[in-house]
Subunit: 467 residues, 2 copies
Amino acid sequence: MIKKSVLFSMLLLLPVLAMAQNEDEVQLKKIYTQSLTNGKSYAWLDYLSNQIGGRLSGSFNAERAVEYTKAQLDSLGLDRVWLQPVMVPKWTRGIKEFAYIEYSPGDTNNIDICALGGSVATPSGGLKGNVIEVQGLEDLEKLGEEKIKGKIVFYNRPMQADLIQTFEAYGGCVDQRYSGAAEAAKYGAVGVIVRSMNLRLDDYPHTGSMSYGDTPASKRIPAAAISTNGAELLSSVLALNKDIKFYFRQTCKVFPDAQSFNVIGEIKGSTYPNEIITVGGHLDSWDLGDGSHDDGAGCVQSMEVLRLLKETGYKPKRTIRAVLFMNEENGLRGATKYAEVAKEKEENHVFALESDAGGFTPRGFSFDCDDANFKQITSWEPLFKPYLIHYFEKGGSGADVGPLKGNGTVLAGLRPDSQRYFDHHHAANDTFEHVNKRELELGAATMTALVYLIDKYGTVPSEKVKG
Amino acid sequence: MIKKSVLFSMLLLLPVLAMAQNEDEVQLKKIYTQSLTNGKSYAWLDYLSNQIGGRLSGSFNAERAVEYTKAQLDSLGLDRVWLQPVMVPKWTRGIKEFAYIEYSPGDTNNIDICALGGSVATPSGGLKGNVIEVQGLEDLEKLGEEKIKGKIVFYNRPMQADLIQTFEAYGGCVDQRYSGAAEAAKYGAVGVIVRSMNLRLDDYPHTGSMSYGDTPASKRIPAAAISTNGAELLSSVLALNKDIKFYFRQTCKVFPDAQSFNVIGEIKGSTYPNEIITVGGHLDSWDLGDGSHDDGAGCVQSMEVLRLLKETGYKPKRTIRAVLFMNEENGLRGATKYAEVAKEKEENHVFALESDAGGFTPRGFSFDCDDANFKQITSWEPLFKPYLIHYFEKGGSGADVGPLKGNGTVLAGLRPDSQRYFDHHHAANDTFEHVNKRELELGAATMTALVYLIDKYGTVPSEKVKG
């Protein structure tokens, strides 16, 4: 039985709690309404996508993106906007890749491919060879050098369609793209063709990063992606005739590291300025499309978080930063630098939220945190229900906020609907017209709502930090 | 405190309950896997959209859609497939509408419009008049006959962007389209132009049904929709010059009612054949697009429910019917007929589920039922969680299952993500390429999962029916 005095104190608290609850409801409503009726995210993304376009690390476009987003942050009247220098790798695709299947000399079928990011070029006259189809890295050992040497290895394991979470299907496939060339080279392969990481059958080859691991420079073989339709074609042709040849030519090149920047905007906290809440996406993108979903969306949403807080008249207690990380796609140098500097300066990052899963309808968040913080966050679920945000699960956060892990920092990733994400990911059809304005704006508002709640109530300090 | 004997009985039951739970998990996994890896819904929709196309009630295409879907149901080896005759209204759009804004004689701006469904034609030479812009029906009385007589009334209240549920925003606007002409005619207007029910700014005019109510035939005035961009243009032009004129010409016509059909396929129940579970969508569509989202998606998903149950080896205890209702868009005659026949035959419809909100990622269901049934259904929520289905709310069901209400029938509507629905609704861009295969298939599987659970556990009989 509860003591009368305690009960009495609780009763006294009730109106206060109800008022706080109501204040939060009102603030969330303001945030969503501002985003949906007067949002900036879509116009920013329009410029980033259509006036700048693909912006691979080290490229001229990446620098234009830095300039543009800094200027936009400058226009918001924040407390501080700055560029954080970081050296980034510079790989260029070169002139458009060219490929064909040769059924017999002169009887050829042109086919679209794209070099994987980080791949070496083919010889300048291109590379032609017989093809051996495999369902994954583990097939190589079974086949052995005898069957692989001198050939082009064709990795054709599709993404698993019956997985509901498409990122899980991606995770189950991407080793072919990332390590396919390094592994095939060990068995004497001369090149690698990888089925695009795409759940849909279409004609777009999807690029993405690959690594040669410790393969010496002289042993590195060129690697390219083929569209899912192309992969189906090549596979069915091979089933009829193992002697067909595949030709491809690509002129990609690695340059010395280039100077680039993370772009950062900040509202200083009024009460706990040393507690930092970071929200971010990555500013670089692959070069084939215009990087609207990956990750222009996450950048403009992060910028919009600061704007929505200001526009709705909220004065943060803690310092809120939007960070546009450079070089997520092929190096993670921006994220690494940001975390290094944070450590050097002994910054206290209490919360970091990333949006890097496309500008689709938000469903919720994934959290990398302890139970106490997760419990506090899930207590806010009812506030999100009117906005159809229901997904609050423990799991990963994101590549760019990952390096901040430790010291009790609560990490989170926005989780939009993922069904269409891999239709566009790293391909020429990751373009602005595939982003829906409302879906993008709902994402920005959802991020802002969570940042507001974290700012207002703080995170639960971990024992280590407290002690 | 629980009595020992009761506790003991409960403990004995636990393995049984666990087994049932596990059986359901396995069955749901089978359903989703079959839909996502070997589904038929997308291929059916491809044919319905691209080989048949728009299929307004009474049109030749509507008859082709009846033939095609019946043939497909026939191919599934069901217990019974039949056509249920129903007379439907037949309204035709006629030749392409034509419209322009006239700034001054000879200085004109062509503008796309489309006749609203059910509208009369303009005079054969078209109709030209000054325009009076209003924000809704309630503005008419304020303006009065003096300011309206002889003019074209332009309804320009937009859908409310800050409503998260887009159907709510639609509900708050559609009176302008449905009753705008009847109301404006009372004040002597000569025609009506309505801003399209679309949350996005684009160039597509959206059609949809309208009614003249009890307006006598001689007083009926033509009504057309203008795109959201067109509405913004017209409004800004009017702000500068109230004397501009609007011209439009349309040749739509009403024909005598035509013979048509609901298309029905059925698996007979093994244990309770007289308990009927109906799942459906509507086969007719507007004529501007190909009706992929509205409601080709709901039709092929309903057909797929039967196929998925069969393919996963499940033998229903109750009778499961897929019903493709004719004439939802402009008459609801198919649904009315289906409910009439059900009543005549004293059929016991225990459950009816509709899919008519687009082929987007499913989020859950809305239920129109008593508390006991809602409680049972929500007890299944954990089974749906792996499929990211979380929305289980009381509310409406759907227009086509609505007439089955009463006698304890549990009604439900699939609730897909609605953010993009009104970008396409009733417009020329409601086309196949805007339906994502996985999203469509997830919807079909989600419907099948619920039908399976309802079939297995039955509905909770209402007191009235029980008594």
